[in-house]
């Protein structure tokens, strides 16, 4: 009954970045990305999640999906810490264009400029886009 993460160490650790660019609920991208991150967390890699463009709406506080009849998956972003996914970056320019601030985010995030994010992207081994 051994599990993969108990057999051996993580081996070579790579930098994985998940880039989220879509608002939740209108399309399936946001939920798909979150599920992939949760599953891939078992591989103990160096994971970061980036929220740019309409992706910043994924972390907007106060989501209430009762009337549209879809599951509100925003509380799940708060579980990421328990999965050792602790690096969440939100682009400052994307927030500003939407009239949002760091206080609108439902989890602790690091707000970063577009230039700094570009450099961070350049340091990654693998980038997955949603």
């Amino acid at each position: 009954m051994s599990e993969p993460w108990e057999d051996e160490g993580p081996g070579e650790v790579k930098k994985f970045m998940y880039v989220n660019r879509k608002a939740p609920y209108g399309t399936i991208y946001a939920l798909e990305s979150l599920e992939v991150v949760l599953i891939a967390a078992a591989f103990e890699q160096d994971v970061s999640m980036v929220f740019i463009d309409d992706g910043v709406y994924q972390l907007k506080k106060g989501q209430d999906t009762q009337q549209i009849g879809m599951k509100n998956f925003s509380p799940t972003y708060r579980a990421l810490e328990g999965y050792d996914v602790e690096k969440l970056y939100v682009e400052a320019e994307s927030l500003a264009e939407r009239g949002l601030t760091e206080e609108d985010m439902l989890v602790p995030v690091e707000v970063m400029s577009r230039d700094d994010l570009a450099r961070l992207m350049d340091e990654q081994d693998v980038i997955l886009s949603f």
Binding site: Y25, G26, Y57, Q63, I68, G99
Partner: protein, 102 residues
């Protein structure tokens, strides 16, 4: 012959709203739904576009889609009317035709 236009894409993501505005006659109405509701919020980079659209046209936004995205009805640009699903149905009844901008 008045038309109801629906827009379901975010103005940040597609030019759907702009295209709709370019083709919507003055007496027509625009209803923002799904990711389209993002355009109804005050203080975004697209507020100007939205205000242009409201010039001579009635604009509505679907409340349930705002709430799902954590956007509150009191963040909506003044003059845009928030409707629920019942209001959506009434709008389609009130107008001769519906044109969906997707």
């Amino acid at each position: 012959m008045s038309m109801l236009h629906t827009v379901n894409k975010s103005p940040f993501e597609r030019n759907t709203l702009k295209s709709c505005i370019g083709h919507a006659l003055p007496d027509s109405a625009i209803l923002l739904i799904e990711d389209g509701v993002i355009a109804a919020v005050r203080g975004t980079a697209h507020e100007g576009t939205m205000r242009d659209a409201m010039n001579g046209r009635k604009v509505y936004v679907l409340g349930p889609d705002l709430m799902a995205r954590g956007l509150s009805t009191d963040q909506v640009i003044d003059g845009i009317e928030v409707v629920n699903y019942e209001g959506f149905v009434e709008l389609t009844e009130k107008h001769d035709k519906v044109q969906a901008w997707v």
